[in-house]
Amino acid sequence: MKYQSEPKYAQTFRIEFGNCRDVKMLFVGCFVLLAFSSLVVPKTIAQDLVGDLKQYPHQIVFESYDTDNWELFVMNADGSDRRKLTSTKGLHELYPQVSPDGTKICFLGDTYVDGVVNRSVYLMDIDGSNRIKIADQSRQPCWSPDSSKIAYVKQEFKKFNVADYVSKGMFFYDVKTKKTTEHPNPAIHHLYNLTWPDKNWILSTVHGGMGFGHAIIAIEVDGDKVIDLKISGCRPCASPSGKQITWSQNDHTVSVADLVLNADSARVEKIRVLAQSKTLHLYHPDFSPTGDYVTYSSGTGGRVAASGPGTFTQVAEMIGVRGPWDIYIKRVDGHGEALRLTKDPKLSNKESEWLPRKAK
């Protein structure tokens, strides 16, 4: 019986290739073509990307879990020369956000005192010096396009909760005057991942708040207009020019689209998929300063157990959750494969942001 099955395969083969005049010639042709292409195009596309990135005059700052502590690290655009930007025991630095003028970084700092978690927003110079705390029990900071203000949201309850949408109200910290003002819209509730593309609008994910189930919205900076951008997913990031947006369209897809912002309207056009994985989760996309590349974090989905000081049991895309994740980069035009920049997922490398090379 076993032997009888073999002619069936042979029959199938003949049917599939029945229109070829000479199957042997087809194989020979393919072989020659492959050999020729390997001579003429010796570099792979990924190698090309490495070459381009070696010359790219910007660096990447990101969070990583190192020796029982969350710290901010810096690396070159090609993933080389990884080094610590912060080194503080007792404070977990997370979620770095670089000012558009490249002079400062705001970030989140988690402390644990008597079992109580306090997540605060901090500000420091690009080299890690002159650190100050600007807001207690706050999260999700982002910079205004002119680098003069930091927008952030307040933790909703006194008790800390790692779920990123647990926030209420929006506040602005003026870097020059050090004064804080509240956004005029009292309905602001359950925002996470703010990004500030132009003087009129802040973009954010909203989950179970402001009348929305789950949406990416544009919030008027100094008014109460709110516009649903009508794109599924979360964690938007605007390009430095304010003309593009990248976000996680779902757990497995990072997309890019054109962002059309006017004084009275905000909309998204020409959505295209930038990166996808059937198995891994893709989150935290961020445009490079020239808008040519997007970095993102990727790793396994599902709940991860807290494993060490400063870590929480939750899904790894959330801030403070230590999961087996790494940072990847891909060209915004979608050309070529993604390049993995960090290669040690046990360090939970996430939340990449771009900064000028001048950081030391």
């Binding site: 309850f157 008790k159 989950h207 179970g208 009348g211 789950h214 979360c234 599902g302 709940r303 959330m318």
Partner: protein
């Protein structure tokens, strides 16, 4: 005779051992404070089901141990065969878990349709289980769920999600409630449930619809309710008779009861569906998904309750 308020307070200090006795007496003492809807529920409540308030003043109904015919031979294949099931005594929330209850223990409320007395929706199974644990801790009870793998410790004293059998037994009011069964067959369903035929495209305040014969509100409609069981379409083919609960690995958990979005045909006490529990996805779920909690009583609590009932009679 109902105890005075100071007596109740003193009793409360005893906490765990006299928990349900206190609750029964507490309820009798505070009957005047009940809403009209709750009073109506009490009037309709069978002598076999007893309304009580938890320590955090959440109304529950004590369901006696009993047996009933679970499932249906006339519905879709996953609802059959109809089979005898025995469930131990338990207490179930009289209403779907509300947003006010979430706020009371500072749990993040993911609901789209905000209002204190609307049910929590847009909630994953795992977040519902987290609420059960938080509520247990707030009342000094042992949490049922391990918050990493979310395995349920049925022996723990705290709150958990109802098994399918517990949910259906409560929804049927033990099988004695002809009105809601008739309603679920198409008659007057609007009296008992917020569903596609009468909703305003969102959830309704809990307790707005008539309760079933055990005084439990909105077992059908408003929000579909998460159950403890892993969803297995053919589970009834071989499920155990006593306290069945489908466990094991499975990304889907059972939802029951239909929602404000469901057509009348889906509002049946036997209707069962499976939905992704939310172990991996943090953001995306539906505004039709909510839940209510249960607690299983210890033998000691049951005896104390029985004695308290004899005293009150």
């Amino acid at each position: 005779m109902a105890p005075s308020q100071s007596e109740v307070t003193r009793w409360c200090d005893v906490r765990r051992a006299s928990y349900w006795v206190v609750l029964s007496l507490f309820l009798l003492g505070l009957q005047q404070g009940c809403t009209t809807e709750q009073k109506k529920a009490g009037e309709r409540t069978s002598s076999r089901a007893i309304p009580v308030l938890s320590l955090s003043k959440i109304p529950l109904v004590l369901i006696p141990k009993g047996e009933f015919l679970m499932g249906s031979d006339e519905g879709p294949p996953n609802e059959g065969p109809a089979h005898k099931v025995i469930v131990d005594a338990y207490a179930i929330d009289q209403f779907e878990v509300t947003q006010k209850q979430f706020a009371a223990i500072e749990m993040p409320d993911p609901s789209q349709f905000k209002s204190n007395d609307r049910p929590v929706e847009q909630i994953w199974w795992i977040n519902a289980a987290e609420y059960c644990n938080a509520r247990s801790e707030a009342e000094g009870l042992e949490p049922c769920y391990d918050e990493l793998d979310f395995k349920c410790n049925f022996a723990a004293s705290g709150y958990r999600l109802p098994t399918e059998a517990e949910w259906e037994y409560a929804a049927r009011a033990g099988g004695q409630d002809d009105s809601i069964l008739a309603a679920s067959a198409g008659n007057k369903i609007g009296s008992f449930a917020c569903y596609a035929g009468n909703s305003t495209q969102k959830t309704e305040l809990v307790g707005k619809k008539k309760p079933n014969a055990w005084g439990i509100h909105e077992m059908l409609g408003n929000v579909s309710e998460w159950c403890e069981d892993v969803y297995l379409p053919d589970y009834y083919q071989n499920s155990p008779t006593k306290n069945p609960c489908a466990g094991g690995e499975g990304g889907k958990r059972v939802i029951r009861g239909g929602s404000w979005k469901s057509p009348a045909k889906d509002l049946r006490v036997t209707s069962r569906l499976g939905r992704t529990a939310g172990f991996s996805d943090a953001c995306f779920t539906g505004n039709t998904l909510g839940f209510r909690c249960v607690r299983r009583l210890s033998e000691q609590e049951l005896k104390q309750l029985e004695n308290a009932n004899k005293t009150s009679e």
